[in-house]
């Protein structure tokens, strides 16, 4: 197991190296320069370029950048002079992480519940309602939910703060808006799986032991239906990270998403690259965790994993 995880971490580092290289060169290809304000005099720009090492040949810049990364130094922001990328990210990551984790937990848990209920009550009005709910959740973009929740629950009924980041209560609405997609996804997936599982032979055997429907579901059907859910956690995490870009803006939350949008509009390359790296790290870590989790709930995978 340890060997397996170490190997995976090796892959992770390789992935990051490739991502860093690609983003670096993509940035270089972009037409806009960070200092494209026409009011800045040319002499001033030359000084700035020298200060950030932009006058060096590209390969030299690339080398410096990679060496920096290896030491955990992602450079300084162009926009906020004197602030390192790492510092900028560290001040912003808290709210984003909190929202993401909350949305993920609520989305998958409620989704699993909803999907399971729909499957158990297959072809009844319960199932139909859950299906409609899932379709709505999947087809309406989360910023629409964000806006609706904000308008009704916060503005009209004043149940929650409208925006800004001020304690747990201000995280509820953005979390709900973000949770909608994973919830709908999980519910739909769970229903399909559970319908399948409920018609399988080992469920028949469980019933023939004298288990009630509730016992059959709790002891055998849930776990087996949840195994494939693990596979969609990765893609859902990606969705969440990207989704938070907009939702954070709707609720004016000082998170990574907001920072990302801002950096792109100001051509703040070091910050963009730092954030891209951050997303890549988070993604690969999520995938690693998912793989390990998989082994935990599916004994068949566990064994073949050990063989590696």
């Amino acid at each position: 197991m340890v060997k397996y995880v170490l190997k995976r971490i090796g892959y992770l580092l390789l992935t990051l190296f490739i991502v860093a290289s690609i983003t670096f060169f993509l940035m270089k290809l972009l037409p806009g320069t960070p200092f494209n304000n026409p009011k800045i005099p040319a002499a001033q720009i030359a000084i700035l370029r020298k200060q950030y090492g932009l006058d060096l040949p590209v390969w030299q810049q690339y080398l410096n950048y990679m060496v920096g990364i290896a030491h955990g130094d992602f450079g300084e922001s162009y926009q906020f002079a004197g602030q390192t990328v790492s510092y900028l990210i560290s001040t912003r990551i808290g709210p984003s992480l909190q929202l993401g984790v909350q949305a993920m937990i609520i989305g998958t848990l409620l989704g699993i519940l909803l999907g399971a209920i729909a499957a158990i009550r297959k072809n009844t009005w319960v199932d139909a309602t859950a299906t409609i709910f899932a379709i709505i959740g999947r087809s309406i973009p989360n910023f629409v939910f964000a806006a609706l929740l904000q308008f009704w629950l916060a503005y009209k009924w004043r149940l929650f703060p409208i925006a800004l980041w001020d304690g747990f209560s201000s995280s509820i609405l953005p979390t709900l808006a973000l949770a909608m997609a994973p919830l709908a996804n999980t519910a739909r997936f769970m229903r399909t799986e559970m319908v399948d599982v409920l018609s399988s032979d080992y469920i028949e055997l469980a019933k023939s032991k004298g288990e009630s429907q509730w016992q059959v579901v709790a002891k055998h059907a849930m776990r087996n239906s949840m195994i494939p859910i693990v596979t969609i956690i990765g893609p859902m995490a990606v969705d969440l990270m990207l989704g938070s870009l907009v939702v954070e803006n709707v609720f004016a939350i000082p998170g990574i998403g907001q920072q990302f949008v801002q950096s792109i509009t100001t051509n703040d390359y070091p910050v963009i690259m730092g954030l891209t790296m951050l997303y890549s790290v988070m993604l690969t870590v999520v995938i690693l965790i998912v793989d390990i989790l998989y082994g935990f709930i599916d004994p068949r995978i566990r064994l073949s994993g050990e063989g590696n």
């Binding site: 080992y202 055997l205 469980a206 004298g210 055998h220």
Partner: protein
């Protein structure tokens, strides 16, 4: 022989059972007036082609019919209660305790995510107040009984770590851990290869003696019946068309469908690579024929077979067949060679004893 046993009260008695399935095309008349008894300690084999209603019959005994099933009439008396009238709770109390079931495909009938020890102990935990530890100890004992020798070390193993034959042994262990009075085995050996089939049948016989249970053994292969059953009921298109002791069915069969099954059975004498199957297909149960359902495939069919359902004609106190060929005055038919051979064995070996 079974016929010489004193007439015993049946432990299970199915009477006039009719089951339909509601489908978009209309009701499928899957079980059409089935009656039979199961006596204490005996093994009854139910034999018939695919789709004849064997599984539906045993499922109805378990109270495990599909949601679209409709029981049009009938009773299933177990002791003094009608299983068809039991509440969900009563059924749960009965299943896996008084009546247990063994399924066809050992590769899919165990929960892939639960250690086998826990799965075997589960019925015990469900129906008694025994502690987990004691239940697992009992699971080890029963697993050893069914031939998993290293049971203690393998309690925490998962189904995929066992072979098909071993898995079927585990399924059997689950079924017998509460010493049920009736074991329903729905083609328990069909998915296994021949040598393992024989082992499992031997095991079932052994267990039957040890825990004194009655068995309903379902199969579409008459070949495996001789090794396990006391009596045989032959099913076709949702009806039992002939029943009798194993010897009566094997050597003195009366229904042309039973003849067909016997001919399809490879024996030591016949060349086993000459595979014979009864020509034609079973009738559509959405609209069952009004006469003998087998008539269209029956080379001996008479006009009346197409028009009127034959009643059961009693051949011996234990043997009856629903075919117009047994009607007094029906023309004598020329038996197929294999059946003729069997009749000769019957006359020389059994007929005399039968008369005593």
């Amino acid at each position: 022989m079974a016929t010489n046993k004193p007439a015993e009260e049946p432990i299970l008695s199915v009477k006039d059972l009719k089951i339909d399935f509601r489908t978009f095309a209309g009701p499928v008349h899957a079980i059409r007036d089935v009656s039979f008894d199961l006596k204490k300690g005996e093994t009854l084999a139910i034999v018939g082609e695919s789709g004849s209603g064997k599984s539906v019959t045993v499922r109805s005994i378990m109270g495990l019919l599909a949601n679209n099933a409709h029981i049009a009439s009938g009773q299933i008396m177990f002791h003094d209660a009608d299983i068809l009238k039991k509440t969900k709770r009563q059924l749960n109390a009965m299943r896996g305790n008084d009546i247990a079931m063994i399924f066809q495909d050992p590769m899919t009938s165990l929960d892939p995510t639960m250690p086998i020890g826990k799965q075997v102990a589960e019925p015990l935990r469900l129906h008694t107040n025994i502690s987990e530890k004691k239940a697992l100890a009992e699971a080890v004992r029963v697993l050893k009984l069914v031939g998993i020798q290293d049971a203690q070390e393998r309690l925490k193993d998962y189904p995929h770590q066992f072979s098909g034959g071993q898995r079927q042994r585990i399924v059997i262990a689950i079924a017998i851990i509460n010493h049920p009075q009736i074991l329903l085995a729905d083609e328990p050996t069909t998915a296994l290869d021949v040598t393992i089939q024989a082992q499992i049948i031997h095991l079932l016989k052994e267990i039957q003696e040890k825990i004194d249970t009655s068995i309903i053994f379902i199969t579409h292969d008459l070949g495996v019946v001789a090794g396990i059953a006391d009596r045989v009921a032959v099913m076709y298109a949702g009806k039992i068309i002939e029943y009798g002791t194993v010897d009566e069915i094997f050597y003195n069969a009366q229904h042309p469908y039973t003849w067909g099954l016997l001919e399809a059975m490879p024996t030591l004498e016949t060349n086993s690579d000459r595979l014979y199957a009864i020509p034609g297909t079973p009738p559509d149960l959405l609209d069952p024929p009004k006469g003998d359902a087998f008539a269209p495939r029956n080379p001996f069919a008479m006009q009346i077979d197409l028009e009127q359902q034959p009643p059961f004609f009693q051949v011996s106190p234990t043997h009856a067949a629903a075919t117009w060929l047994l009607y007094p005055g029906a023309p004598k038919v020329e038996l197929p060679p294999e059946i003729k051979r069997r009749r000769q064995i019957w006359e020389t070996q059994f007929a005399g004893k039968e008369a005593e």
